[in-house]
Amino acid sequence: MRGLLPLLAFLVAACGDQAVTPVFHDEGRPALLSDWGMMSTRDGLLRLADGVEPFDLNSPLFTDYAGKLRTVWMPEGVAARYREGEALDFPVGTVITKTFYYPVDDAGHVLRGDGDVIVSTRPETLDLDRVQLIETRLLIHRADGWVALPYVWNEDESDARLMRAGHSLALSLADPDGSYRDINYLVPNVNQCAGCHAVNNTTREILPIGPAARHLNRDFEYAEGVENQLAHFIAEGYLDGAPDLPVIPRAAVWNNPDLPLNARARAYLDINCAHCHNPAGPADTSGLHLNIDAPHGPNLGVCKPPIAAGPGSGGHQVDIVPGHPDESIFIYRMASTRADVMMPELGRSLAHDEGVSLIEAWISAMGDGCS
């Protein structure tokens, strides 16, 4: 237990699962998720081990409407260093997990996990009667760099098994309007993990993407109450060197209509696209840069002809025609589920309707035409 306040320590201890203890494996590829001791599934609950801190992102990556339970754990005596831009500077020994799940209905269909469906009555847990666990991906910071390992949950949800070659899963998603969609859910293979997490295609270092200060700067409902995540990390001894909260950047929540449209759209593109579409990323070959600080102009896609889009052009001349989303390659590729057309290339088999609508609104508000 890392908390400094005895009271906090008591509260957290009362919620964390003391039956499992996090373990940092500095080499090798443990066959089971349980070998890491980050979480357990017993008595109908997925619970996190002591010291395993859950977090959310202001705007997350879309993954076929899956719900995501993200956690971070660090060994005793070390902490992440604060920085802006890329993810926090996590120390060697850090283990980050992301568990993908769907809420389930009585008929065995899965429901959208990124909405308001209740998946647990206790914070920091998942109620196994209410969710289907799919996979848990680990990012492990070893002395020679980060390693990515994907674990796929057993049918009885007792444990998850390492599937380095990836996996696919047929699911039927119940939409809010009562219709159903087939999902060909794809667990990435280890090399494909690098497809997103090697955000610099020259160094090809695997790095965390989500837990950057601007994405983490939000409240979370912890077992001991609601608290800003960065403040919580600091209190837990997981984060050093952070400035005062009010000056820490905060990415927009993409679906919060109270926030400015441009900020929401840019936050959405940032988390969904910029791991490849940044000036050093694998998609810098396209000249299209969607990182949060990319300036407005051709390299953001405005009136920019494609370079090597092939079928991805959809017959359109440029990435973004201001005022005309229906003539913009952006929308065509975001709305597509064809392997050779869709963007992002990996990580989804469905289109994110609400994300498409957001970018349509953004382009519509942009002005009129390219000439």
């Binding site: 020259t202 070959t285 051709p298 092939g310 079928p311 001349q317």
Partner: protein, 409 residues
């Protein structure tokens, strides 16, 4: 940048709409589907120095493959013996994606991928030898974009390759440096061989036929590296008259059917000792990005759209320009050369950078030099709305010759 209306793009859409649907393609009955997991694990576990040997056989995949480890060789038993088929592919934008250096792939075929067949994204010392990429249903707009596709590479050798049926370019080298493409064959692609935004490339001893455009040397805006310094020589470039089946909006969709060699906005390009013949639009086209229909707003300000320092010499030209795939060019042909006349061997859109002019003329070092027997160059006068097309007088000149591209392996 001024917007011009020369309608290569417009004419094209009709041709595209009419295209699509070819043969049935490879029958995968009896193909090995179990090998997928084996190969994915081999690629994940690969160590520097490893050779992954794939025996003869037809192997079916439903997802893309990727390699991230430097110094690996993938070797089949021959481009007609070891066949990786992606006809059943449901996910992944490529057949094989390589993000690694010191990579060699040889004696293997990659067929029917949903997107690109073989993409190498950033790396040094890349050898692609006797590799065949093919869409077995023939030319079709629904085919993947690129066959063999190294991009942002340094020191790349493509030799003895075969590329068929790509809806963009069969062999496409983008944003690279120090490249040789030789002894290869490109057929029934929109672009046979395309060198784009690349510095120092030698393209020789290849055959490009039955594409829409045979060999292209392009520069596109908004990319970190403008290209220059490509030599295209000793190639057989003939009968590239396949209707353009590229996707509207892509750069190659503006290439008219029947284009032999096309230089677009690239500099320091030599075209020599090729055998170029039987192209309905023109044997050689030299153009600016202005002619491809792009708006100026979406172009970085420092982009150089003009083809400069071009040398065309010693080529053997056959028939060409008798039936251009473009309404304006067709009218121009009849007007200038008569009903049975031909567009000359070299067609130039006429855009040039007036800022470089000295005493009203382009200085010698930037000129387009045509020193090729009785071959002529037609300036279609694009900058003035094609009002005064004319044969370029005194096109004969020369440039300091470029030296061989030398690879360190």
């Amino acid at each position: 940048m001024v917007k011009h209306s020369f309608g290569w793009v417009v004419v094209l859409s009709a041709a595209v709409a009419a295209c699509g649907g070819g043969d049935d393609g490879r029958d995968l009955t009896g193909a090995d589907t179990d090998f997928q997991t084996t190969l994915i694990e081999q690629l994940i576990d690969a160590q520097t120095g490893d050779v992954i040997e794939i025996p003869a056989g037809v192997y079916a995949f439903d997802r893309s493959l990727s390699l991230t480890v430097d110094g690996v060789t993938i070797r089949g038993a021959g481009m007609d013996e070891t066949i990786l088929s992606f006809a059943n592919q449901t996910s992944g934008a490529e057949g094989l994606l390589v993000t690694a250096s010191n990579f060699t792939i040889e004696d293997i075929a990659i067929e029917d991928t949903r997107g690109d067949a073989l993409k190498v994204n950033e790396g040094e010392n890349i050898i692609i030898r006797r590799v065949r990429t093919e869409w077995t249903n023939g030319p079709d707009t629904d085919n993947g974009a690129y066959g063999i596709y190294p991009v942002q590479t340094t020191n790349t050798l493509i030799e003895g390759a075969v590329a068929i049926g790509a809806s963009d370019a069969g062999i496409y080298v983008g944003q690279s440096r120090n490249v040789i493409v030789r002894d290869s064959r490109a057929e029934f692609n929109v672009a046979g061989i395309e060198i784009e935004n690349t510095i120092d490339a030698d393209v020789y001893n290849n055959v490009a036929t039955n594409n829409t455009g045979g060999i292209l040397v392009f520069n596109m805006p908004n990319l970190p590296q403008p290209g220059y310094g490509t030599r295209v020589y000793d190639n057989e470039v003939f009968d590239n008259n396949t209707n353009n089946f590229g996707h509207p909006g892509t750069p190659v969709a503006s290439v008219p059917a029947g284009s032999g060699i096309v230089i677009n906005s690239n500099d320091q390009v030599e075209i020599f000792n090729n055998n170029i013949r039987d192209h309905r639009t023109a044997n050689v086209i030299i153009s600016s990005v202005h002619s491809t229909g792009y708006s100026g707003i979406g172009t970085q300000e420092d982009f150089d759209p003009y083809p400069e320092t071009i040398l065309i010499t010693g080529n053997t030209f056959g028939d060409g320009g008798g039936n251009p795939d473009n309404v304006e060019l067709q009218a121009l042909r009849v007007m200038m050369f008569g009903l049975t006349g031909n567009i000359p061997d070299v067609l130039w859109d006429g855009f040039e950078n007036a800022d470089l002019h000295e005493e009203g003329a382009m200085p010698a070092q930037f000129r387009i030099c045509l020193d090729n027997g009785d071959a002529q160059m037609l300036n279609v006068d694009g900058p003035n709305g094609y009002s005064n097309p004319h044969i370029v007088e005194n096109a004969s000149c020369s440039h300091e010759r470029r030296t061989d591209v030398v690879l360190p392996f």
